[in-house]
């Protein structure tokens, strides 16, 4: 992919990418923190385990990236992403989930997400995708790409 013209003025390449993780599952959230912190180019500034509280936290932390679980009980995560996109446009939200289907991916991107990642992806690829989103790319995990490909609308000849 051509990145030569990706001028990202918001981001100083020598500073760590600041990430907020939103996931109701404590085990996933804490493992994410540990993994992100072990990478010299990334840092996890906040963890939120409750969807509704996340807006406040994100506004205050003002991270580069928000990694947001799609399926959290009792919250419309797509609506939250939409709010992030309109009120905090500098924050790039990546949604991630164990469910990868075309509807979810479209809803996430239409809501303003910068990507859709599968929880079944290789950890290395996951981290790499977060980094690429930081550089201004829309990121879809392998699973999500294939899903999109197979869900191409049918057209007449």
């Amino acid at each position: 992919m051509n990145q030569a013209t990706n001028v990202d003025s918001n981001l100083d390449r020598h500073r760590r990418l600041r990430i907020v993780c939103i996931d109701d599952n404590a085990m996933i959230a804490s493992a994410l923190v540990r993994r992100l912190e072990s990478d010299p180019t990334l840092t996890c500034v906040q963890v939120v385990q409750e969807g509704n509280a996340s807006f406040q936290v994100v506004r205050e932390a003002s991270p580069d990236i928000v990694l947001m679980d799609v399926d959290m009980p009792g919250v419309d995560t797509f609506a939250i992403v939409e709010r992030f996109a309109s009120e905090l446009p500098d924050v790039r939200v990546i949604m991630f989930s164990g469910h990868v289907n075309p509807e979810f991916i479209d809803r996430a991107l239409d809501a303003g997400a910068w990507g859709y990642l599968s929880k079944n992806e290789d950890v290395v690829d996951l981290i790499e995708a977060i980094r690429r989103a930081g550089q201004g790319e829309i990121v879809l995990s392998k699973e999500a790409q294939t899903v999109q490909r197979s869900a191409l609308p049918k057209r007449g000849p």
Binding site: M1, N2, A4, N6, V7, D8, N25, M27, I28, S30, A31, L32, R34, R35, S38, G98, H99, V100, N101, P102, D106, L109, D110, W114, S118, K119, N120, D122, V123, V124, G136, E137, I138, V139, L140, K142, E143, Q145, T146, V147, Q148, R149, S150, A151, L152, P153, K154, R155, G156, P157
Partner: protein, 514 residues
């Protein structure tokens, strides 16, 4: 009332005149009356048709009435025929009738009183009709019951499948979710400075985790219609797939059986992802391997042939093992059906195979003979050949030149084009099929016009200011415009559709990727 069904009444007498008078008397009853001149003729008729009543003259040459009756009674087929003897002798001797089932045997003395004859015959005819109806109803009832049984069984099976599907999908998702922190922590550990023993531990845990992840995936796949799983390329070249998975599959066979493979090079691709295919064949080979334990010249053959019309590819996994019982053949695709011990079998293998193949719109067939072996055949839909793929988006097609300043828009366009296997041209010297440009006072619109004019079939997409509606196309010398104008704020899902369409028409125009 429905018209009564006529029954047969057979008259047997050697004298035609007597037959005629009997026939006349019985005409009132409105049944089928058949006349026979001898016991022989009567028997011939009885062999062909069922009779409600047999009226027989006791005194006939060759075979008399009693002899005929005897013959008839010993034959179970005629068991329902009532017999009425006509006798000139007054039959006081009850002995004559004793050998018979009295209910269905009677006699009429000569001279015949027409009313008595009619009364007796009609009683037997009615009895015959009633029993026939009863038998029919009984048969119907049995048929209905069997049908009910069958649909009940199907219902139970479908129910079980649905429950298992939901259960499996849920379990698969939860397992996958919880494996994520495990994998992440393992990944963190890999970066740490570990003693060599600890490194071995980590490697072992990683291996086990990978296995669990595959298992979680199979569980999710077992669900027939919960979350749609399209997680991998839905088209597979069998030859290439075999080269990639041969090691894994040969490992499943071990040393005690031979594995032969016959996959021709030029088969059409099948509409099934590699991982699914591997799972299917792995399970079938594993089953064959289990079946071949203790068989001296165990052999497993994996083979594929294409149907002449190239619509299907049939993939066979055959073994020369002990075969399967009729019940096993019928039930082997059911989840949890197994004939193996707890440690060896889960009974889920073939259910999974069936699920994967069904999802790919294929079919699984089992053919097995005791002592000879078993063949599992899978009919898989073939991919349409590239030459017929007229309406589909081009795959591996096209070059697009992208001149966009809005970063987010650019990111989406690049992601979409990449997803369509379209290359992005870095500078304007490259020959592009599609120009994607953004209006910002730079004359983008006229650049797009120039581009489409210079290249007669190519298209350009021009993004312009927000808030002027999602898209507008305008006419160019009566032709639909090849300059597509889109609003910058277009939703990514619509953008993907528009880009797909536009790229497809551009590439079709070029002719190379029709």
């Amino acid at each position: 009332m429905a018209p009564k069904e006529k029954v047969n009444i057979l008259l047997v007498d050697d004298q035609p005149t007597k037959l005629l008078s009997l026939e006349t008397i019985l005409a009132d009853l409105d049944e089928n009356v058949i006349k026979a001149n001898s016991a022989d003729e009567a028997l011939r008729f009885l062999l062909a048709e069922e009779c409600a009543v047999l009226l027989v003259d006791v005194c006939m040459p060759k075979m008399d009435g009693f002899e005929l009756a005897e013959l008839i009674r010993t034959h179970p087929r005629f068991g329902r025929t009532a017999i009425i003897f006509i006798s000139a002798v007054y039959l006081t001797d009850a002995d004559l009738l004793r050998g018979y089932d009295l209910g269905a045997v009677d006699y009429i003395p000569v001279p015949i009183v027409p009313e008595v004859l009619k009364a007796k015959v009609s009683v037997f005819a009615e009895l015959f009709r009633k029993t026939s109806e009863l038998r029919r109803l009984n048969g119907e009832l049995e048929r209905r019951l069997a049908e009910l049984d069958r649909s009940n069984e199907r219902l139970r099976f479908a129910d079980r499948m649905a429950t298992i599907g939901t259960l499996a999908a849920g379990l698969g998702h939860d397992m996958g979710n919880l494996l994520l922190p495990v994998r992440m922590r393992l990944d963190s550990l890999t970066g740490c400075d570990l003693a060599s023993e600890a490194r071995d531990d980590v490697a072992a845990i990683r291996e086990a985790t990978e296995y669990l992840q595959r298992l979680a995936r199979s569980l999710r796949l077992l669900a027939l219609d919960t979350d749609v799983e399209h997680s991998v390329e839905p088209s597979t070249n069998l030859g290439q797939w075999w080269r990639e998975t041969e090691v894994l599959l040969r490992n499943a066979v071990g040393r005690n059986a031979e594995l032969a493979v016959c996959i021709p090079e030029h088969l059409p691709e099948v509409r099934l992802d590699k991982a699914g295919l591997t799972q299917v064949v792995f399970n079938l080979i594993q089953n064959a391997h289990d079946a071949l334990k203790g068989v001296a010249d165990g052999k497993i053959v994996v083979s594929a042939v294409g149907s002449p019309d190239e619509q299907w590819v049939v993939l066979d996994v055959a073994d020369n093992g002990p075969g399967m019982s009729e019940e096993a053949c019928r039930r082997c695709l059911e989840p949890f059906f197994t004939t193996k011990t707890r440690e060896l079998g889960t009974g889920l293998g073939l259910a999974l195979v069936n699920g994967i193949i069904k999802r790919a719109n294929g079919k699984v067939y089992v053919e097995s003979r005791i002592g000879r072996g078993t063949t599992f055949s899978m009919e898989l839909p073939a991919m349409r050949q590239a030459t017929e793929a007229g309406g589909d988006a081009p795959t591996g097609a096209g070059v697009a030149r992208v001149v966009l300043r809005t970063q987010r828009l650019r990111a989406h366009v690049v992601s979409i084009l990449t997803g369509l296997d379209c290359a992005i041209a870095v500078d304007d010297s490259a020959e592009a099929d599609l120009l994607v440009i953004e209006e910002d006072g730079n004359g983008a619109l006229s650049a797009a016009g120039d581009f489409t004019e210079r290249h007669p079939h190519r298209h350009a997409i021009v993004f312009s200011g927000e808030g002027q509606g999602e898209s507008a196309e305008f006419e160019q010398n009566g032709q639909p415009s090849r300059v597509i104008r889109l609003d910058r704020s277009i939703r990514p899902s619509s953008l993907r559709v528009r880009i797909g369409e536009t790229l497809a028409s551009s590439c079709r125009g070029r002719g190379g990727h029709a």
